[in-house]
Symmetry: C2
Subunit: 512 residues, 2 copies
Amino acid sequence: MHLWQILARARHLYPAAPAVVDGGQVFSWDAIGAGTDRLGAWLRARSVAPGDRVAALLPNSRVFLEAYFSAAGVGAILVPLNTRLHPEELAFILRDSGSRVLLADPLHAALTAEVLAHPTPVTHVLSAAAPFPLPTPWRVAAYPEGAAAGFTPEPTPPDAVAHLYYTSGTTGAPKGVMLTHRNVATHALAAVAELGLTDRDRWAHIAPMFHLADAWATFAITLVGGRHVMLPRFEAGAALALFEREGITVTNLVPTMLNLMVKHEDRSRHDYGSLRLILSGGAPIAPAVVRAIVQTFGAEYVQTYGMTETSPYLTLSLLKAHLRERSPEEQLRFRAKTGRPFIAVELRVVTDDGAPVRPDEREVGEIQVRGDTVTPGYWNRPEATAEAFTADGWFRTGDLAVLDDEGYVTIVDRRKDMIITGGEKVYSTEVEHVLYQHPAVLEAAVFGAPDPVWGEVVMAAVVPRPGMTPSEAELVEFCRGHLAGFKLPRAVRLLPDLPKTGSGKILKRVLR
Amino acid sequence: MHLWQILARARHLYPAAPAVVDGGQVFSWDAIGAGTDRLGAWLRARSVAPGDRVAALLPNSRVFLEAYFSAAGVGAILVPLNTRLHPEELAFILRDSGSRVLLADPLHAALTAEVLAHPTPVTHVLSAAAPFPLPTPWRVAAYPEGAAAGFTPEPTPPDAVAHLYYTSGTTGAPKGVMLTHRNVATHALAAVAELGLTDRDRWAHIAPMFHLADAWATFAITLVGGRHVMLPRFEAGAALALFEREGITVTNLVPTMLNLMVKHEDRSRHDYGSLRLILSGGAPIAPAVVRAIVQTFGAEYVQTYGMTETSPYLTLSLLKAHLRERSPEEQLRFRAKTGRPFIAVELRVVTDDGAPVRPDEREVGEIQVRGDTVTPGYWNRPEATAEAFTADGWFRTGDLAVLDDEGYVTIVDRRKDMIITGGEKVYSTEVEHVLYQHPAVLEAAVFGAPDPVWGEVVMAAVVPRPGMTPSEAELVEFCRGHLAGFKLPRAVRLLPDLPKTGSGKILKRVLR
């Protein structure tokens, strides 16, 4: 399936239905379709040909959604840019992808100017709204509005690349993950199947649309003719209010957002009756936060795990039928696991010698996957692509996990974040989950620091809750009540916040 | 996705869950998996290689389900045979497909013997149960049971052919419709998405598993880890009893079956509380029958339309969100339409010159479709394949339909069943729907007969309800109350039954 078809279906079946709510305005599928046609015609008039790259430095918005579909219409490759990257990193991505056109927004005018001060192949800058000033010689074009443009989509083969997502770069230089029309369309269909999405659903785009934790819903919600509600800038109180005001039924938030929302002072001020499903993804979450989410929203909670390279979902913690008959506490235990395989994915957990791990929740192996939602590789990086796959075509996630006898996996660490201290393996998430249970802890990150005697030692960084200042000794003592001696942090640093990627992943290399 | 994977998923996630109920026995996914491995190993030991054809002349059964997955495991092409065809037709199919192995069943022992009396390429016959005698030189092998065989599936590319379904042949010689792994797996995923299938669903295999009206559920229900309940021979009373006894939640029946069930004397004797969804497909249905279905079962009713060539679904009469707010009568009107496009399909209705019809429910055009569920063509029939597609790759269904402004199509006739009388077009279904409203009519078929003056004239064949004998004049008079003069049947024949294909389609060429 071609991504253009997903929009064509919504235009055909739901022309007058509310498609996008953005900044108090409501757009029908007719209006979104016309906007997409106009932007497609604009791109084509700038000689954007099939396979060309178009970059987008945009907040969550109607225009971002139109950009995704317009690029598909002209057969171009959309390159969604992370607005929290450094201008130099963004310029690198523009060069690496060879993007000639940049879709920008007045909200990021200063950042856009800084990016374009570096050498890039960009020749055209289009503003999502009114044109904004940029230093000479840049001229910004205004978003095409008004009369409908005639537009016929490019016939694009299903295995053509549709998107380049640059990985948030917890290590090394950003790499462009190629996702094809088939990758993204299969994920959309599979997500509809797994989550029971229908034309009655209203999705809140709160996590950034330049990241797949949210971007996949651009396609899945359009496929069923549902409604997109845009929040251009995350703020916990605003997100809580949006749930009630717009009758949101489903959304996928990153753990750091959820953590801030369920600890926000307004959390009990709203009615979340329309909300049927809260998905959490993009980073690991602590069980204590899961409990708070279920208490706050009273909606079904599903833990998701995925990667940019896999469009993204790999597992969901949806409960199998017979698990729904267990006690609430037991159900919550499964919901807080990483999850069982996503319906479009073949998944295995294997040890270093390729043997499947025992389903005993103890033996640790790497998660490897295959399927139509898996990337064909990295843009212009044949070596990195080759390294990412096993000889028999399984994608190596780099995530270490245990497996239970119900088929649910639980990630214990990123392969590279695993700490080896005195020959013992320590998985950072285990220690973090204990720290999150302490009442004074808002956020926690555990990582290894080099040590001449032990090889590595366990270190922790903690952001305390506002007004609280737990002592290092108190936190270590708390951990001692739950963990073996060699897993205890040697030191705990209190920080005002933790370094994060645009998608909310904690940057442990910066902490190190 | 490879079809083997669909079974592998159920085995992995639901090893101990009831997978198949067949003849009072319950089989777990572990047991079905082991049976599939054994059959796969048996086939491989007979040198069945990837791409080889394996034919199945089987009733609905555990073995039929295992045959579908075992063939996928060895990379062979399964050729499901219609048990109601003439032995000569079946021998033709065995020759046309080049099937070396025949899976048979004691239930069809006599038919199997008659088929093998004709020249065929068959070298091995396997019985689904105990071996049964066949004339010399045939020896029938017993279905492999007992100890688990080691079995590793063949790696098969997604575009490899998985099945050959011979079209039931309402015209001409049977043609083998090729369906690939991707065709069938995409349809399974899309059906899960459209119908909200989950591991709580229990599907009744009542329509024959050699026909896609039912066969698609073999894959979709397995994909979600649901339960398959087998009825080897259709009888209306037995089907009604099965619904209650096995707690069936969903099934797809052909209109002739539904018609017999809702008019059966036992229809009110059972509790259908578990039934959430009744699908009707494989042939057109009269609105009067739809009303009776909704009254009898109290479940959601969805009209389906599809073809063997499209895996099969093309439209579903699922209601869009805003239509669910209309009056019950208005909702029923939409539910009785052919439907709106299936989620995996791109669909258009075009006139002979390729222009889209107006969405006015009046202008008639042909339904043409594209997508991952559409066949690559007919087995060894390059000309028939070329004829079936337009120059730009749309599959011509040969079905004539009108379109409404909600995107729902209504089929008015098969292109070749349309009657032209005195230059006026008469769509047979319109006349049939009127006849079905008459209380004495059990079944009705309308067709054209050659006429020297008018070109063709409208003829009807009617099966009266038991104990009733409506007169020809009375039926024509009844039609006059609803139809224009040129649409009235010139003659109405009362028959004890109508000639039908194995899937329940009425054979109008025989009536002619």
